[in-house]
């Protein structure tokens, strides 16, 4: 590893899709600023580096690490702990690292069920019923793959995190702004926000950035977008379409609602919200237009999967974190 005097930068993906990395590359020519100001020492998706190279680094020698992905298996955890030790600033980057995101929806099922679904359902071509083993004795020696944990965890449920940058993925203009800030800090022109801050996002809700007209909300029926002609002017929730705007942190400029699609909540809980799903559930249930228990329950049938709806991005980061069948191993 050459030393050119520049501060070191790392980015890692744990249980994630790779969208965060694409989002970083989407900052276009700003990526040249990253290269001009940082020495990229570890970024598996963009360059060749081995874990042992990171292990050989001095503790605290990486200035900035953007960690995306949730903690699904032992390898994710090992690298999270390793990068924590080697980094001065560790950023939970993107929804998976912040709150679990899609990988954490697996927290609704026990591990054996997940493996069964992946390897032995009717849509899978696996005539010999091969299932992954954590250890395999090959003629050349023992092969190992990382063991899955029973539940998916967020980064800060495993290691100490300095900053949180939400989004699935974080919007490129927000990433560019954060990179600008860090460069200014390096040049002594700005100061870092207090530890534990959410960076690259607003404090308020998506509704605050949404330009749709809002009136009195009353819902008689929850509708799915493929079944209705959406009015482009009026609030989506008022049209009976489940929109996550009321609970979701601002920062995306209400991208989805402005494209006639409901907010799905990828920026996570707004400032001060302890449990994202509870906040969204409160907002949605309160405007059901009925005072009759039977009718209310009938209207609620329009939400067939409440956990998937209200915790689409947030299950690992929620108060309950995982369904009982997933964690109750007894």
């Amino acid at each position: 590893m050459t030393s050119n005097g520049k501060p070191k930068f790392a980015m890692y993906w744990a249980a994630s899709c790779g969208g965060c990395e694409i989002s970083v590359l989407n900052i276009h020519e700003k990526i040249l600023d990253v290269d001009a100001n940082f020495d990229v020492v570890f970024w598996p998706v963009a360059m060749d580096a081995k874990y042992k190279d990171v292990e050989a680094m001095e503790d605290g020698s990486i200035l900035l690490t953007l960690f995306n992905g949730a903690i699904r298996n032992e390898e994710n955890e090992h690298i999270a702990k390793l990068l924590r030790k080697k980094s001065q600033i560790l950023v939970a980057f993107g929804s998976c690292a912040n709150e679990g995101c899609m990988p954490a929806l697996a927290n609704l099922s026990p591990i054996d069920e997940i493996v069964k679904t992946a390897f032995s359902t009717i849509s899978t071509d696996n005539p010999n019923h091969i299932q992954p083993q954590t250890s395999y004795q090959a003629p050349e020696g023992e092969l190992k793959i990382p063991k899955l944990f029973p539940i998916v965890r967020t980064l800060d449920q495993v290691v100490d995190v300095d900053y949180y940058m939400p989004g699935c993925p974080p919007e490129s203009h927000q990433i560019a702004a954060v990179i600008d800030l860090v460069i200014q800090v390096l040049q002594g022109k700005a100061e870092l926000p207090p530890k534990g801050s959410v960076i690259g996002a607003g404090p308020s809700t998506v509704c605050d950035e949404c330009t749709r007209k809002r009136g009195l909300k009353t819902i008689h029926e929850f509708k799915r977008i493929q079944h209705v002609q959406i009015d482009p002017e009026i609030c989506l929730l008022e049209q009976g379409i489940l929109c996550s705007g009321p609970a979701t942190r601002s920062g995306c400029k209400a991208l989805c609602p402005s494209a006639n699609s409901p907010c799905i909540g990828c920026y996570g809980p707004a400032e001060g919200v302890l449990d994202y799903g509870a906040r969204l559930l409160t907002a949605v249930a309160s405007v059901i237009d009925s005072n009759d228990p039977n009718e209310i329950q009938h209207i609620i049938e329009g939400i067939p999967d409440p956990v998937g709806m209200f915790y689409r991005f947030n299950l690992a980061g929620s108060l309950l974190r995982a369904s009982k069948p997933a964690w109750d191993t007894k």
Binding site: E74, E77, N107, L108, F149, P150, I151, R153, D156, Q157, V158, V159, D160, V161, G196, L274, D275, G277, A278, R279, L281, T282, V284, A285, S286, I288, S290, N291, P293, I296, Q297, I300, I303, D305, P306, V307, F310, G317, S318, L319, L320, R321, A322, S323, K324, P325, A326, W327, D328, T329, K330
Partner: protein
């Protein structure tokens, strides 16, 4: 185990009806199960579902939600909102593996001390029958993979 399981139940009452009902039960010396820890809110409409989730996550075996009868709310219609949230939350909890019987909605007026006491005893027996919930998502995660001090890393 010969000792009987004593469920921990968190009960949310409203200032104007259900808490007065509990008061009434007390002054009338009505006996009921001591398992419910009552928390008084100004209105059942103040009950953020977050409180219920936090109760379960932190060790409660059951949660009681109580307020004024429909139509009697001191704040006109907030208990209807409670009712809407209650049914949706119950559906969500069921999906999380928490039995719907662990959460109960009870309307009680200030005069219904006896009803309040009877319902609490009934609910306590129901939760006792279900057994402890012991919410612990990290149960299956090896000790060495858990952070040394959970308080240190929790947001």
């Amino acid at each position: 185990m010969s000792e009987q399981f004593e469920p921990i139940i968190i009960g949310f009452t409203c200032n104007w009806c259900s808490y007065r009902a509990a008061d009434m039960a007390g002054t009338a010396r009505i006996k009921y199960a001591p398992n419910v820890r009552l928390i008084r809110l100004m209105c059942s409409g103040r009950l953020d579902p977050t409180f219920i989730l936090k109760a379960f996550a932190d060790g409660a075996d059951g949660v009681l939600v109580s307020g004024c009868h429909p139509g009697d709310c001191h704040y006109v219609e907030q208990n209807y909102k409670t009712m809407r949230r209650f049914y949706l939350l119950r559906k969500l909890l069921t999906q999380m593996g928490i039995e719907p019987e662990r959460i109960k909605l009870l309307w009680a007026s200030a005069a219904e001390g006896q009803i309040f006491a009877d319902e609490i005893t009934k609910f306590t027996e129901e939760v006792r029958r279900l057994g402890p919930l012991n919410w612990n998502p990290e149960q299956g995660i090896p000790k060495e993979s858990q952070p040394a001090n959970p308080m240190e890393v929790s947001a």
